[in-house]
């Protein structure tokens, strides 16, 4: 039988207490237990980046993290980027530059870019490209996504 674990964690600023089976991934917990469906399931194998969330400030593929490991963690999903309807600059720039098409990679892309700008507020184009290399997009050709991150750099 699968064991259950009660964990306490912060998700998008709110403290949550959840009882999770040992084999449940953070991805499934966020989507199915908490209804945070902005976190997308693209491969469940850590290869596409669509499920990227911030865990303790670092971008992780949430499909590769067990929920039970998240006791005490702080998690931020795409739903936690904007506050009271106020988009952050990255979101605004992604809209302005036209970096969204089907939108399925967008949440993970935003989180990876957000993490980049947190650790490196003035990245070069190469650094932007390297930071987003794990986030696959099939629609945009990445051009406008890279432009949006560049335009989000606070000068």
């Amino acid at each position: 039988m699968i064991s259950y674990h009660q964990i306490t964690l912060k998700v998008n600023g709110e403290t949550e207490v959840v009882n999770v089976p040992a084999n449940m991934t953070l991805l499934v917990m966020l989507r199915e237990e908490m209804g945070l469906t902005g976190v997308k399931n693209g491969c469940a194998a850590g290869e596409c980046g669509a499920c990227t969330v911030l865990m303790n400030g670092e971008p992780v593929n949430s499909c590769m993290v067990l929920a039970a490991e998240c006791d005490g963690a702080e998690v931020i999903t795409v739903e936690g980027l904007s506050h009271n309807g106020q988009l952050i600059k990255l979101q605004e720039m992604l809209i302005a530059k036209g970096g969204v098409q089907c939108g399925f990679c967008t949440p993970g892309m935003l989180i990876s870019a957000f993490a980049l700008l947190k650790r490196n507020p003035d990245p070069s184009e190469n650094e932007i490209r390297e930071a987003l290399v794990g986030n696959l997009c099939r629609c945009t050709g990445y051009v406008r996504i890279i432009d949006a991150v560049k335009a989000s750099v606070e000068k």
Partner: protein
């Protein structure tokens, strides 16, 4: 209905996407985001491990005994065949499996793990048959038959299967006299190419949830480019009346053709019919997405082209063997498209084309962005490059001399409409600094430039239709109802823009009704073929003009004025005669009171519009000739300036340039976004992508082994241009652009590689090791 010809201000502007706020905040709903509650069952599929075998026996007893298993279905339950153009596919294999990964049984259980375990417990006894893995061999009389009953299959009247063979469609084009033309040629090039299967790779895998009510009515929620085609095909196949089948289609997380027609969506429906009251969810794993989903079929193409001493094209012979896979229900029309477009955008007086759709024991070939055109142009673009060289003419001059133009009679006898291909070629040539030999950045690099042109027509039945209706709301806004899907291309935004521009509303006053729902949404054939801006755009424009007319007639009556003196500007009705003004707020629903409380004028305004091309004709089955094979062609050009590393064979694109004639760019930024994304998908397919099949088994069904382009692969400089030669029946002159930007890419890159190295590779992907070894063999690394 007359539609005003003046160009509204909003056309040619680039308002922001209407779907974008939800997509950057995580609020946008995709199919897997819908919650179905505790009654939900999870479906998994038992799949064939063999490429070709007879099913002798299926024993489901152990699986049925597993606690948590609710329903198991096999081909025995559903012997019917399904298919878009040729009904040659079973929902679950009946007597025979035809590719590795074919569905043999479906299980629904209380969770995915139990469903998966049950699939393992299903025992299938097979009798192995000789497989077919090559399309040329498959077309030969020696090959074993994959569909011995093909002669009994229902087929569209423009598809020509050859029962008793593996050829499920043979498209012929005969124009002029090729055999006589060769002797007049001063230069002839003959070459063969092989384009491997590739996968679509939407980031959102296939997902569909089906539920049957007590009264037998079925609802299907699916990530779908084609809710109406799915309703039609699935309902018909399963004996449900179309109106008793409802398809709800939220945002699609990438389609590229693989979510068109019916691929996997009939399976959850078939299971749900036996699990009344339970929603049944089937979600593909990424691995299934790679090896069981429809693929872009492989192509073996043999080309012979010739021109006179002045470089005028005289003849082309084009023989195509398409690796259609185990079922060609959709693929037959891809091979037809390859046939009627078989010259590419070239004006050639003598043409002989044979396009064969061949069954093999490979994954099923289906629609993929460009529908045969990337594959076809890979060959054409490169033989033309060599022919120009052979006759000693500048390659760009050769393209310009021979590219098709308005008024020319094309390969099927259709008179070409006006196009701006010459201008596209000029823009691309200028963009890559054509004609200037530039130095490589270091001694261990080789530099080269290549250019190619392409065309594509919407490939669809002659009468593929669109419809739309527009409801005015109390607050003066308009809700636009369409049946075309937003798959990332911006269809909803362009629909909103056309409606706003036509009615006279600001963009922010338009709402798009969604998600698509066949119960409420107006009919649309499919979101494919780069046809929405043009076809659905027309329907929206007519619906908007109808709504506008109703509003103006109401106000004209209230003001006792002539409709011709009235206009709607930014949601305000104005009279140029009396200078009166009235906001659309309230009146578009409640009407306008007559003076002195003497009654009311008007009422809720609902505009409706539909569009269907009526002029597409059939083609002679022996010659492929007819007055009008297609609605129109979008044409364009692409060029690359590249460097190849002599130590690694790696290609670096220094500059990528493309230009297409889009008729009218309704939203220039969306047009450019399609060109960038399409070109990048083309680059990815050219440099990285190939489904590696060994004995029918895909060897690389993961993102690790099947690499697609990432951020680090984007060319440092990418330029996109559009040319505008209006389409006579397009909304404001628009033609589609969704698929075209990836169609010339492989050829243009192949030409750049040739320019850099003198090496002509047989086909993509142009992997570093392949390029390196070819350079080594050619002795250019010493």
């Amino acid at each position: 209905m007359a539609v005003t010809d003046k160009m509204p201000e909003l056309i040619g502007k680039s308002p922001l996407r209407v779907d974008v706020h939800g997509k950057v905040t995580g609020a946008a709903i995709y199919t897997d985001d819908i919650q179905f509650g505790k009654n939900l069952l999870y479906a998994r599929v038992k799949r064939s491990p063999h490429p070709h075998a007879l099913i002798k026996k299926i024993d489901t007893s152990k699986a049925e005994a597993l606690p948590g298993v609710k329903v198991i279905v096999t081909g025995k339950d559903y012997p019917q065949r399904i298919g878009l153009y040729l009904k040659d596919k079973n929902i679950f294999a009946t007597d025979r499996v035809r590719f590795v990964g074919e569905a043999v049984a479906g299980v629904a259980a209380v969770n995915e793990e139990i469903a998966e375990k049950a699939c393992e417990l299903i025992e299938v006894e097979y009798e192995l048959l000789e497989p077919v893995f090559d399309s040329i061999y498959g077309a030969s009389p020696d090959a074993p038959l994959i569909h011995p009953d093909m002669g009994d299959y229902e087929v569209a009247n423009f598809i020509f299967p050859k029962p008793g063979t593996n050829i499920s469609n043979h498209f012929k084009a005969r124009k002029g006299d090729v055999d006589r033309a060769w002797k007049d040629c001063a230069a002839i090039v003959e070459k063969s190419f092989h384009i491997p299967q590739v996968q679509h790779v939407p980031i959102e895998p296939h997902i569909a949830i089906a539920k049957t009510d007590d009264n037998g009515r079925v609802t299907l929620w699916a990530s779908s480019q084609s809710p109406f085609a799915q309703r039609n095909l699935i309902a018909k196949t399963l004996g449900i009346s179309e109106s008793d089948m409802r398809v709800i289609a939220p945002y699609v997380g990438g389609g590229f053709g693989c979510k068109a027609g019916v691929t996997m969506e009939a399976m959850p429906v078939a299971i749900a019919l036996k699990a009344k009251g339970h929603p049944v969810k089937m979600r593909f794993t990424r691995e299934e997405e790679f090896y069981t989903n429809f693929v872009r079929q492989g192509l073996k193409i043999k080309l012979k082209v010739g021109c006179d001493k002045d470089g005028n094209m005289l003849a082309m012979e084009n023989t195509m063997y398409w690796d259609g896979g185990a079922s060609t229900e959709y693929g037959v029309n891809i091979t037809r498209a390859g046939g009627y477009s078989s010259t590419g955008p070239f004006d050639i007086p003598n043409v002989k084309t044979d396009s064969f759709c061949v069954y093999t024991n490979h994954p099923i070939g289906g629609a993929y962005r460009g529908f045969g055109m990337s594959e076809l142009h890979t060959g054409i673009g490169q033989v033309m490059d060599e022919l120009a060289e052979k006759i000693g003419m500048d390659k760009v001059e050769f393209l310009k001399r021979n590219s098709i133009q308005g008024g020319d009679i094309n390969v099927t006898g259709m008179k070409m409409h006006p196009i701006g291909l010459q201008e596209c070629i000029d823009k691309v040539a200028k963009g890559i600094n054509w004609g200037v030999k530039e130095k490589a950045s270091s001694d261990n690099k080789l530099r080269g430039k290549g250019i190619a042109i392409s065309w594509k027509a919407p490939a669809m039945p002659p009468n593929a239709g669109s419809s739309a209706f527009i409801e005015m709301n109390e607050d003066g806004t308009a809700t636009v109802n369409v049946g075309g899907q937003e798959i990332g291309q911006g269809a909803f935004t362009v629909a909103a823009q056309i409606a706003a521009a036509t009615i006279g509303l600001p963009m922010e006053d338009i709402r798009i009704a969604g998600p698509l729902d066949t119960q409420y949404s107006p009919y649309e054939w499919q979101t494919v073929a780069s046809r929405l801006t043009w076809s659905m755009g027309n329907a929206v424009r007519f619906a908007a003009a109808d709504a506008r007319r109703q509003i103006l007639e109401m106000v004209a009556e209230a003001w006792d004025e002539d409709v011709d003196d009235l206009d709607i500007i930014n949601g305000i009705v104005v009279s140029y005669r009396s200078e009166k003004e009235m906001s659309l707020k309230n009146i578009a629903v409640y009407g306008i009171p007559k003076e002195d409380d003497q009654g009311w004028i008007g009422g809720p305004v609902v505009g409706q519009g539909s569009f269907m091309p009526s002029y597409v004709t059939g083609l002679d089955p022996e010659t492929g000739q007819g007055p009008r094979a297609v609605v129109h062609y979008t044409t364009g050009a692409q060029g690359f300036d590249i460097e190849i590393d002599k130590d690694t064979g790696k290609i670096e694109i220094l500059k990528a340039v493309t230009a297409f004639d889009v008729g009218r760019a309704l939203n220039p930024e969306l047009v450019k976004a399609q060109m960038e994304g399409g070109m990048m998908q083309g680059i990815s397919s050219a440099i990285f992508e190939e489904i590696i099949l060994e004995e029918g088994v895909m060897q690389n069904p993961s993102f690790v082994d099947y690499r697609i382009a990432t951020t680090v692969d984007v060319p440092r400089v990418m330029e996109t241009y559009f040319v505008e030669v209006p389409q006579d029946d397009g909304p404001f002159g628009a033609r589609g652009i969704g698929e075209h930007p990836m169609t010339p890419t492989i050829a243009a890159l192949g030409n750049a590689i040739y320019d850099a190295t003198g090496i002509r590779l047989e086909g993509p992907p142009f992997l570093p090791e392949k390029v390196y070894l070819a350079m080594k063999d050619a002795g250019i690394l010493d």
